[in-house]
């Protein structure tokens, strides 16, 4: 079913909205959550929580990008459910991702407190300075938590090419954050 029709069902307070959302996007949301929590039950719960949140917020909201709207909610729930301590103990992929992000932070930014929204805005602006391909590779890695192999397969490039794009984008992000730190 088309996004606009599903959203119409939400507006009509028709519970079929949830069913159609699940039919259309359930698997992808589960995949996103599972990439983060690495636990089937927590992933299922993240997806269920996402539907409830969507039910509570549509209306009044009418998202232009419905999947992105759901995926953001789902990612938030999954990150909240993630047991960071055990993830760190296991050296899980998600910990590697945050460590890779850590490498992007110029030292002077380490102690600087940014409001969540301010940081998101800075990151959004940064992403828009990149080529579409580098945007996609970066977001597949750090937004969708895909593995290098998955990204390589998705875009038909080599794993080394993925790694190189990520390395360069991280270096650019470091410079960008540094610039932001100076400007604000």
């Amino acid at each position: 079913m088309e996004d606009s029709k599903i959203i119409d069902l939400f507006f009509a307070r028709n519970e079929d909205a949830i069913r159609h959302t699940d039919d259309t996007y359930g698997r992808r949301l589960y995949h996103l959550a599972e990439n983060i929590v690495k636990n089937g039950q927590d992933a299922e719960e993240s997806v269920s929580d996402t539907y409830m949140k969507a039910w509570d917020t549509i209306p009044p909201q009418r998202p232009r990008y419905f999947f992105a709207y759901l995926a953001k909610i789902c990612r938030n729930f999954a990150l909240k459910k993630l047991d960071w301590k055990n993830a760190e103990k296991r050296k899980a992929e998600i910990v590697s991702l945050t460590e890779e992000m850590e490498m992007c932070i110029p030292d002077k930014a380490r102690d600087r407190e940014l409001e969540g929204k301010e940081l998101s805005m800075v990151l959004d602006q940064f992403l828009r300075t990149l080529t579409p391909e580098n945007q996609m590779v970066f977001l597949r890695r750090y937004w969708y938590a895909d593995t290098i192999a998955q990204i390589a397969a998705r875009y038909g490039i080599t794993e080394s090419a993925v790694l190189m794009r990520l390395n360069r984008t991280r270096a650019k992000l470091c410079t960008y954050l540094e610039m932001e730190g100076i400007r604000v």
Partner: protein
């Protein structure tokens, strides 16, 4: 700000960016950006001489030298999902064991014992994660920054206790160097290059984390050229140095630890190196010096995990070991504040550098000179004469173009005009068309591309036991539309992604095969590009 906050902060970037990353594909000229990495990955048999030499070495040295068993501080079991072999047969789900390896010292050493006690403490300290949740805002004093797995005052107290018990020092505050800071990194620590000359191994500094104690972890983009076999590999190399004066909580985690291959190798200067190679394509070089422990991780030695012929040989790994400098003795960082200031100056210089528009225009000119031609013959000549441009910017498959690439002409778009299809070994790497009188790439595959009935291009990838089929319809205008994926994921099983990526459905293996078989690959008769009638 920390890495976790950035990771969280990404959640609210623009919806359009998230949608694009979910549905988007690389444009045909995406690699114009010059981001493609050059990789040579050719098969080769193991040399009998190398095997014999290895056997002699193992027989002569087996008892006295370092082994992974001497370094193992823990293990846990996990399930590796069902995967496929390249011939389509199934490799069933298996339970495997993950090994945790000390990179501070061998069993019996105080560094090993301190790490083992630390890991046991962590297991019993906060089993349900309650303390971790309560301490989410806990900020460690700078001297504990390298202990990334400590998140409460009690844990820091435990670290202090272990240091006191085993007469070890803290690693101290840490500083991060980015790519481009390689000279500063070496200067600050007072160390030479990690490579002994660059005859066989070249390493480009990619970033590092260094502690006040001099302990460091540095990443390099490395290239190995084996003169005997003419093999060339690029890979990530991580050089990790830990002084035995310090307590370090880090360890190596080796997947499927019971199937790791390990052997000892003696360097020309007499240094013994333990080399371990796992089934995931990573390798490790471990050196237990009297004053320090050095571990080298070689990432992505080979990603085609069930095809050992694609992975480095023992001789290649030994050549890396012989090319690295294991005599480094980094000094302590006396004034870390001053160092941070130096790095800030470096960043300031980067910030001040402005992009040169002429340089960008020049890149565009190079792109057009190489890729825009008014006939296929001129394009073939250009690839023949300037192969490095095409391997670097278009497709690595263009390597050895003139001697190995085949071609055929066929109307793929259905507009009555032939397209140029380039490929080898029975599959397609690139399809070019003439659009507005100039050559334009319309389909590309580094791995295996196939033309299917109905103007369908199939991009097939087999990686890590996972087959991946991507189908797209080539339109008359040369664009591709209506793509569909059928791929296998060890966690989910077979997955169908259709309706241009908006619908992801789990399907049975039978359904997957039915879809795959519905796209009938066309057998193309191709001949060497050398036979193309050049004008």
């Amino acid at each position: 700000m920390n890495g976790k906050e950035i990771f969280f902060g990404l959640t609210d970037v623009g919806d359009d960016l998230i949608e694009k990353a979910e549905h988007g594909q690389f444009s045909s000229d995406a690699k114009f950006s010059g981001e493609t990495n050059r990789i040579k990955r050719t098969r080769k048999p193991l040399l009998i001489a190398a095997i014999v030499a290895l056997m002699v070495l193992l027989m002569g040295c087996a008892v006295l030298l370092l082994h992974l068993e001497d370094l193992r501080v823990g293990e846990e079991t996990y399930v590796d999902g069902m995967r496929y072999a390249q011939d389509g047969s199934k490799i069933p789900e298996t339970e495997k064991v993950r090994h945790f390896i000390s990179i501070g010292g061998a069993e019996g050493s105080k560094n090993y014992q301190a790490l083992k006690e630390w890991m046991e403490f962590k297991q019993s300290y906060d089993p349900d994660g309650t303390i971790w949740k309560e301490n989410s805002g806990f900020e460690k004093p700078a001297q504990y920054n390298n202990y990334v797995d400590a998140y409460s005052q009690q844990m820091l107290d435990k670290i202090d206790e272990l240091c006191q018990k085993y007469d070890l020092k803290l690693e101290g505050a840490a500083v991060i160097f980015q790519g481009g800071d390689g000279d500063l990194f070496a200067q600050v620590l007072g160390i030479d290059s990690v490579v002994n000359g660059e005859q066989y191994l070249q390493a480009e500094f990619g970033g590092a984390r260094a502690a006040e104690s001099g302990n460091f972890n540095a990443a390099y983009q490395a290239t190995l050229k084996n003169p005997e076999t003419q093999q060339e590999y690029t890979f990530t190399l991580i050089y990790d140095y830990r002084s035995k004066d310090c307590f370090s909580s880090g360890y190596l985690m080796i997947e499927d630890g019971e199937n790791v291959e390990q052997w000892n190798h003696k360097l020309p200067d007499g240094t013994d190196v333990l080399i371990a190679s796992d089934k995931g394509g990573d390798a490790y070089l471990l050196i237990d010096r009297e004053d320090a422990f050095i571990d080298i991780t070689i990432r992505n030695v080979g990603w085609n995990w069930d095809s050992p012929g694609d992975v480095m040989s023992h001789a290649d790994m030994e050549l890396i070991a012989e090319s690295l400098n294991f005599s480094l003795k980094p000094r302590q960082i006396e004034n870390i504040t001053q160092l941070q200031q130096s790095i800030e100056e470096r960043y300031q210089a980067i910030q001040d550098a402005t992009e040169d528009p002429e340089e960008a225009a020049q890149r565009r000119r190079v792109y057009e000179e190489n890729e825009f031609h008014d006939n296929y013959g001129d394009l073939i000549c250009q690839i023949r004469d300037n192969e490095s441009y095409f391997t670097d910017h278009c497709n690595v498959a263009y390597e050895n173009f003139w001697d190995t690439m085949d071609y055929t002409l066929r109307d793929v778009t259905g507009d009555g005009e032939d397209e140029l299809i380039l490929g080898r070994d029975g599959h397609i790497h690139e399809i070019w068309t003439l659009q507005n009188g100039r050559t334009t790439r319309i389909a590309s595959s580094y791995y295996e591309g196939y033309l299917c009935e109905g103007n369908i291009f199939e991009h097939y990838v087999f990686l890590d036991g996972r087959p991946y089929h991507h189908y797209s319809h080539i339109e008359e205008d040369g664009r591709t539309h209506e793509w569909k994926d059928v791929d296998y994921d060890p966690h989910d099983g077979w997955v169908l992604i259709d309706e241009n990526g908006t619908n992801r459905t789990l399907i049975s293996e039978e359904q997957a095969m039915e879809i795959i078989n519905s796209y009938v690959r066309i057998s193309l008769e191709m001949e060497s590009v050398k036979t193309f009638p050049l004008s």
